[in-house]
Symmetry: C2
Subunit: 331 residues, 2 copies
């Protein structure tokens, strides 16, 4: 295993400590709960927005904490849901008079942890709602999921609800906006290589030199099909077609288009992928309002990419256009 790591069991806390040291004025780090929060949270006059997930998907979610995005993130270990008490302690610290919105990518382990924490928090008198994100069109059910998985399209939900909360919207309104953005967001990804979890020390699955996993999950879960490695334009077309046909997006739609890297694919290739996807989307009569190219939701060091489209209206465009300040300046 070729990684920057000391003892693999310290990978997550050492990463979080580095994040905290890099952002001493804006972030607060509570090691016992893997909790990363805005230094100025909770704020009396806004809904607190919280997300947790397994680690290994960075920048999601610990590097997206800041004004206009998340108020806090509470990750678990690599590819493992945060324990329910981590989430519960996070909600306690983030409890604002305007309430707390919990964002959860749709995986069974995450759902269980967040639903338990929601129940405990409600018993404490905290106003709390939960929103599940399930933008991945690849498969209906999967290794860790009943229903669709939540992947990189999560960023658009975070951005929109973060902006709405910053504007002072109440909990029901912030929740409505999140549901709305999730309902018009679709993603599919593919792996060129497997990823290597630090504690395992070897690739999570085997992928031959001439094969790709089309529709892969962000924990290396199987996708739709194992296919031959082909020219980028053919593989990108398969991603774009799957995403466009699912909602479906149709001629005249205005969209945000994201090419997301899965961790091991360099930004040069991601722009190449973006260009191919852009042309294919435009050829279908769809208008690209704004581009998002880079790493948003990764799978450790996996080489691969995903394509996300979001159907926009004036409300969503406005929220995506609001400022945000987070450690990785991806928006």
């Amino acid at each position: 295993m070729k990684k920057f790591v000391n003892d693999p069991k310290d990978y997550v806390p050492e990463m979080l400590e580095g994040l905290a040291l890099a952002n001493p004025d804006t972030l607060r780090y509570v090691p016992e709960y893997n909790l990363v929060m805005r230094a100025d949270a909770p704020k009396e006059n806004k809904v607190s927005v919280v997300q947790g997930s397994g680690s290994g998907h960075e920048p999601a979610h610990v590097m997206t904490v800041g004004p206009g995005m998340l108020d806090a993130a509470c990750p678990g270990d690599v590819f493992a849901a945060p324990p329910a008490d981590f989430v519960y302690e996070t909600v306690k610290r983030l409890a604002s008079p305007k309430g707390v919105l919990l964002l959860v990518n749709n995986y069974t382990g995450d759902r269980m942890a967040f639903e338990m924490a929601e129940e405990l928090s409600r018993a404490d008198g905290v106003s709390v709602r939960t929103l599940f994100i399930d933008d991945d069109v690849a498969v209906q059910d999967s290794t860790y999921t009943i229903g669709r998985r939540g992947v990189a399209g999560n960023f658009f939900v975070m951005k929109a609800v973060g902006a709405a909360a910053e504007r002072g919207a109440d909990l029901d309104e912030v929740h409505r906006i999140g549901e709305k953005v999730n309902s018009v967001t679709r993603t599919m990804g593919m792996a060129l290589t497997a990823c290597t979890p630090p504690a395992k020390g070897s690739p999570l699955f085997e992928l031959p030199d001439d094969a790709v996993e089309m529709g892969v999950g962000i924990h290396g879960e199987p996708g739709r099909e194992r296919e031959q490695l082909r020219p980028a334009r053919d593989m990108v077309r398969e991603l774009v077609d799957a995403v466009v046909d699912d909602l479906p997006f149709t001629g005249g739609d205005s969209v945000a288009l994201m090419a997301n890297g899965l961790g091991g694919t360099p930004i040069g290739e991601l722009y190449l992928v973006y260009g191919l996807a852009h042309k294919q989307v435009v050829a279908r009569g769809i208008d690209v309002w704004r581009s998002y190219v880079g790493e948003y939701c990764t799978s450790l060091d996996m080489a691969g990419a995903s394509i996300t489209l979001v159907r926009l209206d004036d409300e969503i465009r406005g929220l995506l256009g609001d400022p945000a300040q987070i450690p990785v300046r991806v928006f």
Copy 2:
């Protein structure tokens, strides 16, 4: 080779086309010269700042074009200097009454191309100066270099001269600032894996599973030594010690500290590296003013990282703090 690529010879133009499609309002792309420029350049009232280099180091330099950074970038093919006529045509288009500053990382091929273009441009009556960047402490001379190599510390020079040019400083003043920042900037990197150029289709060098290249160049050039893979803290200490002892940085210095990824290392590992470097720097009595964590200057898909320190004073802090708007929002 597992990459998003069509015909490998189209890798660079297809990447640049994607970049242009993703930034239609802010960038102009001139395919015949690999030229990416601000849509509003040249500006009458500011020095134009231009850099070129081989491709494969993205975001350097084509993704760092925008207000407060570069006015244009003119890359060559992967790891190949831009042809002199690409640079010359770029200077022609960027010629501002206040002049043009050419930034060049110190490699023999790049120097030759830029020096020839400078000469031709001066014969045309353009006011032009060139500045060489050589922040890499690893080796004195190298495969493609007489003298030290220019690597990720280049970003601090770009940022400072970009800010000074934006403020309206004249060509001599912008040049002075660039020289000053270069003189207080030091970097060293290391490779965990080799990188694979699209046209070659296989790794550029062999690196055994238990070995790292300490002091590697960004084109895979040999560094100081091939060493055993060790815990991150030991490898990071070797980078930090080499950088700190070179200038040298001493107790009481105020610095910017960068952990730069070489393309294949995920952001989670980079924050872990940053945290280790931060603590080691602080333990030497040095004050970290600001952190920079992410991919700035890469080597295709190489797994690895570099550490950069810049010794700051009020002037440099002010320039680094100015706003910049570029496709990858790394500052």
